[in-house]
């Protein structure tokens, strides 16, 4: 599910203006994308709200910094996600593994089945995945990017992305309960 308030081409145009050192363009991009970037980082960081806020703000500082290197191809949104993703992966790399702690706090699957999944539980379930898998699922589920766009963005083969995505979904199912999703097509 995409929470985007801006499409790739509109983001392209804003980033090009930012490259020309137009601060009002950065403000527009920030207003349009802050929340979705925050949501992506919140999921990537396993539900750490303050960490997500911090990195979301840092993402826009880096957008300003790296905008002159940006080449517009209708991938402006994906480009911003890429910056945020790198920050998240760096932050995850600096943290000690905490998968066991997090999976302990994931609610019982029978409870989850009965109600909508809350954000904290979702983020904690995602935290049980490897950083690669988490990035793919989050970009697909939260940012609304297609698997092809994710492949282009991360520079990996589409087949690898599809395989890792399917593996991640299987893991999430076993974590959150079989009843949460069943075999079928996308």
């Amino acid at each position: 599910m995409s929470v985007s308030a801006i499409d790739g081409r509109a983001a392209d145009a804003l980033i090009l203006r930012i490259a020309q050192r137009d601060m009002s363009a950065l403000e527009s991009l920030y207003n349009a994308m802050y929340r979705e970037i925050y949501g992506y980082l919140f999921s990537m960081l396993g539900g750490d709200r303050s960490g997500a806020e911090d990195l979301a703000q840092d993402t826009f500082v880096r957008v300003w910094k790296y905008a002159p290197k940006f080449s517009p191809m209708g991938q402006g949104r994906a480009w911003v996600y890429r910056i945020a993703g790198r920050l998240a992966l760096n932050a995850l790399g600096n943290r000690s593994p905490c998968t066991e702690e997090l999976t302990d706090s994931i609610p019982d699957s029978s409870d989850v089945e009965e109600r909508a999944l809350d954000a904290q539980a979702a983020a904690q379930a995602l935290a049980a995945l490897t950083p690669d898998e988490r990035e793919i699922v989050t970009l697909h589920a939260v940012a609304g990017l297609s698997l092809r766009e994710i492949a282009e963005m991360t520079g990996r083969p589409l087949g690898t992305i599809k395989w890792k995505h399917a593996e991640a979904i299987k893991k999430l199912r076993s974590l959150l309960g079989e009843g949460f999703g069943r075999e079928g097509t996308e």
Partner: protein, 150 residues
């Protein structure tokens, strides 16, 4: 659990949950980013962020054109070119020296005096029959042809 639940329902639910989180998240004022940008500029030695003048923008664009990585690549390429050119010059010099040596050897072999000696030695010692020697005895003898005796 519904029959039409797909494998990816779980992903949709995660997306929906995070979308709710996003919608309820407060949007910090843009000034927070500005102050971070200034701090980042200070860390990079660029000072506080202010709206750059046209000259500063042009200067920044010029500086961006020459990045350290490009300088390193340029220097490496120059080093490779110098190395290859040096090797080529060395090779040419060695070739010249060799050809000069070969030329002097040719000059040596073209020297009539030494050539004569070599020719005579060759002619007289290369399996020539006794009769031939007799016929050509004037050539091989030491300047005293038989005729002189007659």
């Amino acid at each position: 659990m519904k029959d039409n639940d797909s494998l990816y329902d779980i992903e949709k639910k995660i997306g929906a949950a995070v979308a709710e989180e996003c919608a309820s998240a407060p949007l910090p004022p843009f000034s927070v980013v500005l102050s971070r940008l200034s701090a980042s500029g200070r860390e990079d030695g660029e000072g506080e962020w202010t709206e750059p003048s046209v000259e500063e923008k042009a200067d920044a664009a010029r500086r961006r054109r020459i990045r350290p990585s490009r300088v390193v690549v340029g220097l490496s390429a120059a080093a490779v070119v110098v190395f290859l050119t040096g090797g080529l010059l060395l090779n040419v010099m060695l070739n010249r020296k060799e050809s000069a040596q070969a030329d002097s050897a040719v000059e040596y072999s073209e020297n009539p005096e030494t050539d004569g000696e070599m020719g005579e030695i060759g002619r007289c010692s290369s399996g020539v029959s006794d009769s031939d020697l007799r016929e050509d005895s004037d050539e091989c003898s030491s300047g005293q042809p038989e005729r002189d005796g007659e």
